[in-house]
Symmetry: C2
Subunit: 295 residues, 2 copies
Amino acid sequence: MTELSDFLETVNRNVDETLDEIVPRAEISPRHLHEAIRWSLFAGGKRIRPAIVFAVGQTFGAAFADLSTTAAAIEMIHTYSLIHDDLPSMDDDDLRRGKATCHKQFGEATAILAGDVLQTLAYKAIADDENLSTEIRIKLISIITAAAGTPNGMVAGQQLDLDAEGRTLRIGEIEQIHRGKTGAIISASALAGSIIGGASEEESASIGKYASKLGLLFQITDDLLDVTQATETLGKTAGKDVSLEKATYPGHFGIEQTRVMANNIRDEACHELSSIKKDTALVHMLADLIVSRTR
Amino acid sequence: MTELSDFLETVNRNVDETLDEIVPRAEISPRHLHEAIRWSLFAGGKRIRPAIVFAVGQTFGAAFADLSTTAAAIEMIHTYSLIHDDLPSMDDDDLRRGKATCHKQFGEATAILAGDVLQTLAYKAIADDENLSTEIRIKLISIITAAAGTPNGMVAGQQLDLDAEGRTLRIGEIEQIHRGKTGAIISASALAGSIIGGASEEESASIGKYASKLGLLFQITDDLLDVTQATETLGKTAGKDVSLEKATYPGHFGIEQTRVMANNIRDEACHELSSIKKDTALVHMLADLIVSRTR
């Protein structure tokens, strides 16, 4: 997987550089806010959503530079959601990506504001991205806000997850939570790449189906890691789902059957790519990466 | 002021209708989230920011329908900031617009999510507003995100305000906080109206200066009301600034001198309009309204 490692390294470097340009420097007032934003943005995130934007975008021939801002913006939205998700009134987590969570380090009020403003800066970055036509920028903001919002997006999924704590869920309910919390932004990342790459409607539809499976796959492997990995490998508190009585796949199906499901969903995701007449090797490899990840 | 009352009534009705269309119905899942959003959006807000969008937009000949979505979106951003500002880790307020604050009514986690998603829905509404060209939509999102964000926007002002609690501030610091917390979105409301109305660069520059004074005026009168009005008139907890040792104009200059300042700033704001060769009566009246408001 050298090709994939090279790709991921390039993505990581580019995302870091782009985020560093978009976000005010830590020396600029209000420093506490900008330090908090940077603390969470540069905490060793896996940059999986940007990797999806780049992989899909490049599959359809988009230039790397035309994908950078959107990839970084989606990472900012993801990071805002993590900061707020970790707050005491939400999941109350002390550790994220192996470091203190934002509110542990900077206090709760600043963590709330850091999350708030990361969302703002993400949409501003796309609106100001002069590499792209205004039509494309508007399309991107429209699909990303739908994926980040409600009733079918990330915040809706967070709310359903909160509502479900301590209650035994049907598998359909678990899937609905995952589609919102994780799947929507994963799908939007893939769609954003296809829009910037100028994919046809049919191609975007196939990418949408692939991405939707990829999102599910991501959540299932996340659940698996939570029960099978130690806190130090994971970089966040392991076993958290069980202690919060969260709805999870391993909790519902057991670990072994969940592993079988993950492999099947990977195959289904890749099958959706078969109708696309481009070199989809990179996009295939992303699915492999997610199914085999260890953190 | 019959003309002004009619105008404000029309604005209020239109904002309520537009918000009702933009925001998912309370019956749609996740209900708790949508109820919380609607609780705060329809809590009898004064709709001053939408009134500014409409007044300035109409001054430059924009159709009412072309201003509706942007006006509602700015009100959503304002409401998100109030919900988060009231949280226990921020101002810890129980009462807002005469009703329980969002977190008091729906719990802290849902209040955080309600604020988050109001911001998302606001940008989505503008991105999807087919009354406007994609160029104008992108311009609007760019100026509104700048005003809502950091380093010169609303969240930056909130952070500076937090940083300043319990410390005596120089007047320049107080002004910087106000420019961020309140002034930036007030200015953006006026600029948004001028952009949709197709104002020239010179006209937009004059409107920008007017709006910047208007924002300052709004904050000064807000501070005055906090010390002079009872909680029941205000609909939010009075005397809060003093108990939190917030930086305010009356705290710095005393009540009488602050009243004189407010009148002077009103005059300065209106003076900025003199170069605009349109009927600016409505925009003048807005400044009068703010200087004489009682809640």
